[in-house]
């Protein structure tokens, strides 16, 4: 595509923004307001909202700060998807919109609504505190600043991606478990917990993990992948979740004999995953591959850890859910046997 060299022609089109409205002081329930404005190419949803606020209705309330996709303020649902308003191009949303010329803008889910597009972030901060989302340095405070920890590139890479998180809560908004259980730890907090756990400078690992395996913790996740698909920074959140689980199993396995219970929980996870995959097979074929490649070998490793004979050959990733179920059944048998032998 070429651009005329000495003049700039802006193409424009009319766009209707259907905006979620709720003011707790006067409204008994939320409603939608429509605003139609001309939008040229290159304009983001946030700039459109600013335009509407400045020119049509000053009372629309939303958060925005950096306007550069780094502060995490402007998370909202745009045509049903939780994302950042400041990095989302209007024309791109329109191209995918089911209703021509219309963009729906709603607040994030799973956090208490304050007003219009603004939700309360405090529950997320409380969870960060609850799960000690900080480094408790192994270096005593008195000797800080004197020398560096030596950290390998390899270790850095373990948490590099996780530190991209800007706490925008888009993943939180899409998490299926949170919809049912507001106390659930939340994907972003799992991610942050993982980031702390793999940092060798940290002394809290065990304590944090102990908290993570309790109710509402890491075992509640259904592997639905929504968080990872949503993440505005493309962070592989599931790697973090699996990382924590693997870690938990290893730690537990060494310490007590209830390891197989965890194994069971884990197997039921895989089963759930299987079901989910089945339900959404057309769009998630990758998920199946991933599951077979990653979860099964891990389960095997687990069983081995509990000194049980290795299961019959079940490796080889196979296509489709049928094969998956087949393998799964075999696996389950094994866990059951393993369980029995433990009881004896």
């Amino acid at each position: 595509m070429t651009v005329p060299i000495d003049q700039h022609i802006e193409q424009k089109q009319d766009v209707t923004f259907r905006i979620f409205r709720f003011n707790p002081q006067v409204d008994s329930k939320p409603y939608f307001d429509d605003y139609t404005i001309p939008v040229e190419r290159g304009i983001t949803v946030l700039r459109s909202l600013n335009y509407i606020k400045e020119h049509i209705d000053a009372s629309i309330s939303f958060r925005a700060f950096c306007q550069a996709g780094i502060c995490g303020s402007c998370g909202m649902r745009i045509n049903g998807l939780s994302q950042l308003a400041c990095t989302t191009q209007v024309w791109e949303v329109l191209a995918k919109s089911r209703e021509p010329g219309l963009i729906r803008v709603e607040p994030l889910r799973n956090l208490p609504l304050i007003k219009d597009l603004i939700v309360d972030m405090d529950p997320l901060v409380d969870k960060m505190k609850h799960y000690s989302n900080w480094i408790d340095s192994t270096m005593p405070e008195s000797s800080m600043g004197k020398k560096e920890f030596l950290i390998s590139e390899e270790e850095f890479l373990r948490y590099d991606k996780a530190t991209d998180c800007i706490l925008c809560a888009s993943c939180v908004s899409e998490c299926s478990i949170l919809r049912a259980n507001k106390e659930y730890v939340s994907p972003a907090v799992l991610l942050k917990s993982y980031r702390m756990n793999v940092d060798t400078r940290d002394a809290l690992h065990g304590q944090r993990l102990a908290e993570l395996v309790k109710d509402h913790g890491v075992w509640d996740c259904t592997h639905c992948y929504r968080c990872q698909e949503t993440c505005v920074k493309s962070i592989p959140i599931m790697d973090a979740i699996h990382g924590i689980r693997e870690d938990a199993i290893e730690l537990r396995g060494l310490k007590d004999t209830s390891g197989s219970k965890h194994a069971e929980a884990f197997m039921s996870d895989i089963e759930k995953k299987g079901k989910l995959v089945e339900a959404t097979l057309p769009i998630r074929t990758n998920g199946v591959f991933w599951t077979i490649q990653n979860l099964l070998p891990m389960a095997v490793k687990m069983i081995m850890k509990h000194r049980t004979p290795p299961p019959p050959p079940l490796v080889k990733p196979a296509k489709g859910i049928k094969v998956f179920r087949e393998l799964f059944r075999e696996m389950t048998e094994h866990v059951k046997q393993d369980h029995k032998s433990h009881k004896k």
């Binding site: 309330s61 939303f62 950096c66 304050i114 007003k115 972030m121 270096m139 920890f149 030596l150 390998s152």
Partner: protein
């Protein structure tokens, strides 16, 4: 209306960016029994510190073994065009290695060198590669670390509280008045000491600024209205390549990889200004070159203003995808332009405010019990021009000093009593602009006009007649502001009200920027006077001090503290 009254605090910190958070941590460490609060109009992790990509300078000597603190000091003083106070620069640079390691010890994920030490890279104006970084998210990760550590230490946060005014009795502060954004209520924070850490004011150039929407100089304006002087306000740093529509930065990397700057005649115009270095000349020179092209009519025209092209198309899709993925993504997200296919529309953008609240090396202001640190303060370590990577360092070093000093000195002051009547006065003032009678000016228009007149008349090139025009415009805008209307009358999260309050702050400070620029009849660092093109040490080797007298700016001066380094011409 009822007002909330807090029990008195020993320290109230306004601002949860790098400076504010470090201050909070250090204050708790200095005296754990103190009652400390951090107020911030955004959740601390949203603060603009998160936008800093490049890194923070410290002479660790990890990359260049022969780097020294002394070299860092010299680079900083020279970079400042000799306007920095040399004793303050000593503090900044000597504390640097310690503070970077401290952050490292607390969990900041610095990128690493092959020998597993903190990685460093070269940065503009530095004689050695001493900029410590974490990929291209240095500010973000520093802010995360500090926020995490504050949560760990149990720092008390008042998030989404908007500081409104300092309550002043004679020459003493009683504490702070703030709006609880969630309820819309005014709340009084009586305090022994107050630390301002509210960040910069470069957003007054609005869409010709790389800054966050909230970098409106609130702390400076509050202090200024309370009678505390502002220092060197005329020094605003411009970055050459901001995106046309948003002002967001396209980092130097794009030119580093071989991007061309092109005018509407298709010329690589940098040949006119820097034959050898071309697009890679120093920041201020490249900014001035772009501006000249635009002023002389060789820019492209668009409804969003005149601009030039940063052309990467000749680099090819492969190189752009592999080496400049972030820049490409940014252009697509914010401007809707894919640099593989078309040139990027750019123009210079206001980036950093060197001026701010005048403080001593312990961050004290002239008002006892009031301190300031970070971009909102002017110690001064940056003088007429800040070096890249020195600002993150500034907020850390002086944020910590502020926390320490306030904690040590809090015992000397009594917390004041902020009366019901005073709160009522504050409240009436706010409510007043919500009435329709006599209030009709629109916030958006005033703000737009402010940004425009600043960019046009108090921008990169300055000249007496332009500055006069700018000052006139600002005075008119301040007059019109008295009739501004807050259209949203609700209490909960009234962002319309907050925008208007921020505009008031920008207008008050804009006057100091323009007045300082008009008075300073020389060219130094970021301040370029076409009518006074050379540095005039005899007359102007001094700080400008702006104080509010009867609602308007009054200028004074203060000598620059010299040290080991004599005045020299600044050439690179």
């Amino acid at each position: 209306m009822r007002f909330e009254r807090m029990k008195p605090f020993d320290i109230v910190i306004v601002g949860g960016g790098g400076a504010g958070l470090y201050a909070a941590m250090e204050a708790m460490k200095t005296n754990p029994s103190l009652n400390i609060a951090v107020l911030s109009k955004v959740y601390p992790n949203r603060s603009h510190t998160s936008a800093a990509q490049g890194g923070a300078n410290a002479a660790l000597g990890n990359k260049a073994k022969d780097d020294t603190v002394e070299m860092h000091i010299f680079d900083t003083i020279k970079g400042s065009d000799y306007l920095a106070d040399q004793d303050a620069v000593d503090v900044l640079c000597s504390e640097a290695p310690k503070i970077i390691r401290e952050l490292e010890n607390m969990g900041t994920p610095w990128s690493r060198m092959d020998d597993n030490t903190i990685a460093q890279r070269p940065f503009g104006g530095a004689g050695r590669p001493r900029c410590c970084y974490c990929a291209d998210k240095t500010g973000h990760t520093i802010l995360q670390t500090l926020y995490e550590q504050c949560l760990k230490k149990g720092v008390i946060f008042f998030n989404e509280y908007f500081a409104l005014n300092l309550s002043v009795k004679g020459s003493r502060s009683r504490g702070l008045v703030a709006i609880n954004m969630k309820t819309g209520r005014l709340e009084a924070f009586p305090a022994r000491t107050v630390i301002f850490a509210t960040g910069g004011y470069a957003k007054m150039y609005w869409n010709r600024s790389s800054n966050a929407a909230g970098n409106t100089g609130d702390g400076q304006a509050i202090a200024y209205r309370a009678g505390i002087p502002m220092k060197d306000m005329e020094f605003v740093q411009f970055h050459p390549t901001g995106l046309r529509k948003s002002g967001l930065l396209v980092t130097e990397g794009a030119r580093g990889e071989g991007g061309y700057l092109i005018n509407k005649n298709g010329e690589r115009f940098m040949a006119r200004y820097a034959k050898e270095k071309m697009e890679l000349g120093p920041r201020d020179l490249v900014s001035r070159s772009l501006e000249t092209e635009i002023l002389e009519g060789r820019g492209f025209d668009s409804p969003a203003g005149k601009y030039l092209h940063l052309d990467l198309t000749h680099l090819g899709a492969d190189l752009i995808k592999s080496r400049l993925p972030q820049i490409r993504e940014m252009c697509m997200q914010f401007e809707g332009v894919d640099p593989i296919e078309e040139p990027i529309p750019v123009r210079p953008t206001a980036h950093y405010s060197m001026g701010g609240i005048d403080t001593d090396n312990f961050t004290r202001t002239v008002m006892s019990g009031v301190y300031a640190a970070g971009e909102c303060a002017c110690v001064s370590v940056h003088g007429a021009n800040r070096l890249g990577g020195n600002s993150l360092l500034d907020i850390l070093v002086f944020g910590r000093i502020a926390g320490h000093t306030a904690a040590e000195e809090a015992g000397r002051f009594e917390p004041g009593n902020i009366s019901e009547a005073e709160l009522q006065l504050n409240s009436d003032e706010i409510r007043g602009s919500m009435h329709s009678s006599g209030h009709y000016e629109r916030y958006g228009e005033l703000r737009e006009e402010l940004g425009q007149t600043l960019a046009l008349n108090v921008g990169i090139f300055r000249e007496a007649s332009l500055l006069k025009k700018g000052m006139q415009d600002i005075a008119e805008l301040r007059e019109r502001f008295k009739r501004v209307r807050v259209f949203d009358t609700s209490d909960v999260f009234n962002t319309n009200l907050l925008q208007v309050l921020e505009l008031r702050n920008m207008l008050d400070l804009a006057e100091t920027v323009a007045a300082g620029a008009f008075a300073r009849e020389e060219s130094r660092g970021s301040h370029t006077r076409v009518d006074f093109p050379v540095r005039d040490d005899a007359k102007w080797h001094k700080h400008t001090m702006a104080t509010m007298v009867k609602g308007n700016v009054s200028l004074g001066e203060k000598p620059v503290t010299m040290g080991r380094y004599e005045l020299q011409e600044r050439t690179y």
